[in-house]
Subunit: 346 residues, 2 copies
Amino acid sequence: MTLKNDLIIRAALGEKVERTPVWLMRQAGRILPEYRAIRSKMGGFIELVKSPEFACEVSIQPVDILGVDAAIIFSDILVIPEAMGLSYKMVESKGPWFEKTIHNLSDIEALGIASEENYSYVLDAIKLTKKELNNRVPLIGFAGAPWTIFAYMVEGSGSKTFSQAKKFLYTQPELSHRLLQKITDSTINYLRSQINTGTDMIQLFDSWAGILSSAQYTEFALAYISKICDALKKSHPNTPITVFAKGAFFALKEMSDLNCDTIGLDWNMSIKHSRVDVGNNKTLQGNMDPCLLYSDNATIKKETEKMLFEFGPNRYIANLGHGLYPDIEKEKVIYFVETIKNYKHS
Amino acid sequence: MTLKNDLIIRAALGEKVERTPVWLMRQAGRILPEYRAIRSKMGGFIELVKSPEFACEVSIQPVDILGVDAAIIFSDILVIPEAMGLSYKMVESKGPWFEKTIHNLSDIEALGIASEENYSYVLDAIKLTKKELNNRVPLIGFAGAPWTIFAYMVEGSGSKTFSQAKKFLYTQPELSHRLLQKITDSTINYLRSQINTGTDMIQLFDSWAGILSSAQYTEFALAYISKICDALKKSHPNTPITVFAKGAFFALKEMSDLNCDTIGLDWNMSIKHSRVDVGNNKTLQGNMDPCLLYSDNATIKKETEKMLFEFGPNRYIANLGHGLYPDIEKEKVIYFVETIKNYKHS
């Protein structure tokens, strides 16, 4: 039962680590030829997410191939809307698309609160992955943060502005809170199930944090992230929680009060200022620009070591400031991971 | 020759004003039924940009209909790539699309430096608009900032990540500088021509500022914005310049050194912190979330007055933090403008 490599867990909890641990957002996916090879033989993205055998195999690939210090379960943040009753399609080169979106109270009342029977395939994938990982490294579970899930459920697809989702916040604040609470209840169930099934730590992704104003982010996003953290810490006090709110530089100070262990940073956020805002009682994660990995090795090494030096030896998990982009070469990713694993703080 | 309403010019130059002046990004366009009525009878977007009569008519509409304190010439930031030799199409509901993009040195060498004969239709539109405006309010000219233009020329279309444009910065820094310098030279010509033809002030739009890291923004974006400001101030010292770098919260302090008069803010940027970063020697412009204008009048009034109070009576031009979204109702925009014009600082 004991993890052979628990560096990430210890870094999240603020314990001393022998070296900086590393994992990468979107490490399980299209950057790996090994992933593309399996995927080309199979169906669409959502079918893959629903296949525990496939999800297990591709979740473990980056541990074997890239040498990262954690696996993350191959899944999608839109499992939750679907589990609540809003199904979606993945349109090639366009992203997710919902046939039905949320407009009014009856749409919200028609949604269920997600529970095990609605997302059992994810739990099956976690079980299988934990078994196959054989405790080599921790398994990270995740969910979208309520605002980001809300944004898709109202907008119906990705968007540069999410103006329809924001319109709903402005015109229907009470209904917005009602929907966010339902998403929050579903997410708490979902993440508790993930932890009960074996995930060793949890990350909340607030991908569209950066399009809200500071005041709206506090009211419609952070309030619900806070409820999720509190609920998980009550039921599972030892499971580290990471909150990554992309673009929410303006909220870092407030986020220091969250009942979580790690705050993710994107590459726009200054390491120095973020540490001041977040304080010393939380671990930071991030924050390299994924596009650095298009560079030559010398540039990758130089910039990565600069980042490692700035974050310092403890209370830090190395990662990118966004997910890996699909056309980044595997060899560059391996070089980035090795640079981190070989770095010694002097 | 004297402007009847020069509030915006005086606010930009830091002079005392009787009330806060206001204009709105994308005020000339789809939010006005009067615009849509003319447009539906005509061709595509690019043809409209190239029609001085159309551009004149729709540039003046918001002055008459919305009561704003300035007109902005109806045009497009992609006039410059086209004037340099890279033409584009506007694909309905997808945005701009370039058939040819920039990959290497010979692509860059094939580009021209834009000069009057390449963008004479914009100058014709400015001439006509100045005449029709009859000095009621100032006419604003504009261009995209070099990094944003570069991003389209390399990526070939809009993008959530602009990963190909950023890849070019990482892998071809010298070629990137060469291309940015050519765009800069073209933009200086273009803006000087605009001022010579009659525009009363200038705005640079760096729409994709927010996807660069702070270090890249300094090297590949601000350096060229700075060259443009210096060149314009040398030739036209009395024409106010506004720089709006959307998402570049991390660069505000550095931007205080630009040879410009006004810094635009988006709605993520805190008014208080921005004023500290920018200092007291520049005017601020912005920064309401355009989605506020989906709200009821009471909410619009409350939030707008809060913004006006926070910015204070001088060194401020009211605006949104982004362009108007096409489905915002004209009546709401008028109410926003009137709220600003009626506000009295106590």
